[in-house]
């Protein structure tokens, strides 16, 4: 991997990433938009209310006047003085809501009017009055707006008999109220602008404050490198939202560190495992060449060389198998097969060896599995081979198939052998790890058997468990998930077992 790759790998998207807005920018924008909506809504509502109240007051006033006139005309039609007072004096004196009144008789002639009304408001300007006979519905009087004037007209019966009807025309100057509303409208815009500027500033500040721990966590994460994988970031008290991220990040670091440790352990073990056969090859060849030998002696050396080469070739095969199994692109052959039949095939293969050693191998149970039968056979073969190696004469190895409740199938390989010490159990599935004396070489073993079993189980979406009691025997349990798409089996509580 080139350095460039490493850099872009560490900071993906630092150079060319699809345009996304920073969180600060997004938060600020949200603040501004919500503030704008809020201010507009509040301003609009208040304006509307003000306008409505104003209108209500105006019409109420006009309605009140109309009612007074109606009463005067009906009850005292001949008291012109009172009418004149009402029309000429009250109206012209009224402040601040200035209004005008004109009374027209049944022939349309002006009887009375507020002084100064005629030039501005000729009678023809007013809407035609609707008949107001009987009903007293002041709100429903016909009204018309003309500039800053509210024009209302109505018919009023004269005298109790009510044979004749006069028309009343009223106009109200609304300029004052309109100026108030105008003023309100003019101020709303600057207030809105100011509010938005404030919201944007506050938004940036709040977002920066809120994001500060994130910047801090980024800074800490940046300091963690392959050589400093033991550092953790959840050591500080983070806000609740980030605590989970920090914990997840730390968990990932733990897994990475574990993988790194295993990988370097594996490299060391591999180096050791390779060193031994190469050391043997070299040493034997050197010694053989040091002086003349008989053909038999040469033959012996060459045969030994072949054996070591065989070991190396098998190791390479095993490692390649594991590498392929680890490759996520590796596809598994999936067929339904009779597991019992496969167990019998493997048992038959080992039969001669087992009976030479005086160990009894038995098969029990029935089950069908979905997967690669050759890999299944390989896993069982590795386990049975191991079991036979560690079981003394008179012992027994049982291969048992059992169905579990959740449609999963367990293959149990148990022996009555020497067992594995508890301290070795967690590592026996590691490549080249040897539970017994690491320098003792078991004939036929290349130190990859259990690693291969584990990776075969992983390919099948299953698990392998081991349980061992020193001096009494070891039990391996292969758990194949229920037929169907293989999903990695979830963690199972396994008591004293070590789950791999």
């Amino acid at each position: 991997m080139s350095l460039k790759n490493v850099e872009t790998g560490a900071f993906p998207g630092a150079v060319a990433r699809p345009r996304t807005w920073s969180i600060t920018r997004r938060l600020t924008l949200l603040y501004v938009v919500s503030t704008a909506v809020l201010l507009l809504a509040a301003g609009g509502f208040l304006y509307e209310t003000l306008q409505r109240n104003l209108e209500h007051t105006r019409r109420g006033l006009l309605a009140g006047k109309l009612e007074v006139l109606r009463l005067l005309l009906r009850e005292h039609p001949r008291q012109a003085e009172a009418l004149a007072n009402e029309v000429e004096h009250e109206a012209s004196a009224s402040q601040p809501l200035k209004y005008y009144i004109r009374l027209l008789d049944e022939h349309g002639r002006a009887v009375l009017e507020t002084p100064g009304m005629s030039p501005r408001l000729p009678p023809g300007l007013f809407p035609a009055p609707r008949s107001a006979l009987g009903e007293a519905r002041p709100e429903a009087e016909t009204g018309r707006r003309r500039g800053a004037l509210l024009l209302v007209s109505a018919r009023l019966p004269v005298g109790k008999a009510g044979q004749t009807e006069w028309t009343v025309q009223m106009a109200m100057d609304t300029a004052l109220g309109d100026a108030l509303l105008e003023n309100y409208r003019k101020k709303l815009l600057p207030v809105l602008g100011l509010g938005l500027v404030f919201a944007a500033t506050a938004g940036v500040w709040v977002a920066r404050q809120g994001m500060a721990p994130l910047a801090e966590i980024t800074r800490m994460a940046r300091h963690i490198s392959a050589s400093r994988l033991h550092d953790r970031i959840a050591t500080k008290p983070w806000p609740a939202e980030l605590a989970e991220l920090a914990a997840a990040f730390d968990a990932m670091l733990t897994r990475l560190e574990d993988s790194f440790t295993r990988l370097s352990g594996f490299s060391a073990d591999l180096a050791h495992a390779l060193r031994t056969p190469i050391h043997n090859l070299r040493g034997e060849a050197e010694v053989a060449l040091a002086r003349g030998r008989t053909p038999e002696e040469y033959q012996h050396v060459l045969v030994s060389t072949l054996e070591e080469c065989d070991r190396l070739a098998r190791m390479i095969d095993g490692l390649l198998f594991l590498a392929r199994a680890d490759d996520p692109k590796t596809a598994l052959t999936r067929v339904r097969f009779d597991a019992r039949q496969e167990l019998e095939v493997v048992r038959e293969f080992y039969e001669a060896l087992a009976s030479e050693q005086g160990v009894r191998v038995t098969c029990e149970g029935q089950a069908s599995l979905v997967g690669d039968p050759m890999l299944f056979r390989r896993a069982i073969s590795n386990l049975l081979g191991n079991a036979l190696r560690h079981t003394p004469p008179g012992g027994q190895v049982r291969l048992r198939l059992q169905a579990r409740g959740d449609r999963a199938v367990e293959v149990v390989v148990s022996d009555t052998g020497c067992g594995i010490a508890p301290e070795h159990l967690p590592r026996i599935f590691d490549r080249f790890y040897r539970a017994s004396d690491p320098h003792s070489r078991i004939p036929g073993g290349i130190g990859l058997g259990l690693a291969i079993v584990q990776s075969i189980m992983r390919l099948h979406g299953g698990t392998v468990l081991v349980q061992s009691v020193l001096g009494q025997g070891t039990t391996f349990t292969l758990c194949f998930p229920g037929a169907g798409p293989a999903a990695p089996a979830g963690p199972t509580a396994a008591g004293p077992m070590t789950k791999m």
Partner: protein
């Protein structure tokens, strides 16, 4: 039997030449792809052993050109890459078999003989090696007229050795052919099985038929 070996790695080429010659083959060796293709197209061979990675043109190109020219010479190709895609490609191009390096020489010999044998090879019903007689119909083995009590697997093992008498069979090949164990298995098992077979087939008799070739495997032959 004339064999062409196209292999650029000098040590491999040398030992293949030597080993095959000693096993009765006439061997031509080419180090470069173009030379190999030229020889394969002009001379007549019974089989060609072809390395995939070659300077000049690679093994696949040679194979394709050969088949295009209508030459049906059996081809066994050698590859250092154990990728399934590689094998499939080779077999699709018309190779007869393949071997992944590192391989045992006995394995190469066995495969080579097997592709040379292909064709109208009918299995005899009764096979005789010295005084050993195998009856494939009744699944019975006798020696000097004396019935040998063999388990089915022992009979299968003896039959394999007898059918390929004179050929050294590696433990891996035996495990594959007799027990269908197509992977690296405990080869110790094969030794034990052969030892038990010998007890029945050879021990009671003066002339031994099954021989151990140290470091390679087993062979059944009259010596």
């Amino acid at each position: 039997m004339r064999i062409l070996v196209v292999e650029d790695e000098p040590k491999t080429a040398t030992y293949l030449h030597k080993g095959l010659s000693e096993n009765g083959f006439v061997v031509d060796t080419a180090r470069r792809g173009e030379d190999g293709l030229h020889l394969a197209l002009t001379a007549s061979y019974d089989a060609i052993i072809l390395d995939v990675a070659l300077p000049g043109c690679d093994g696949w190109t040679i194979l394709a050109a050969l088949r295009q020219a209508g030459k049906l010479t059996p081809v066994l190709f050698l590859t250092a890459r154990d990728a399934v895609a590689d094998r499939v490609k080779g077999l699709e191009l018309g190779a007869d078999d393949y071997l992944v390096k590192p391989f045992a020489f006995t394995e190469l010999l066995a495969r080579l003989r097997s592709i040379l044998r292909r064709g109208p090879a009918r299995q005899p019903e009764i096979l005789r090696v010295a005084d050993l007689e195998l009856d494939f119909i009744r699944h019975r083995a006798t020696r000097g007229g004396q019935r040998l009590e063999l388990t089915p697997k022992e009979f299968a093992l003896l039959a394999l050795l007898a059918r390929r008498q004179g050929e050294v069979l590696s433990r891996t090949l035996i495990a594959e052919q007799v027990w269908d164990m197509h992977f690296d298995s405990d080869t110790n098992v094969v030794d034990v099985a052969v030892r038990r077979l010998r007890r029945k087939v050879d021990d009671p008799f003066a002339r031994k038929l099954i021989h151990t070739i140290r470091g390679s495997g087993y062979v059944l032959e009259e010596r």
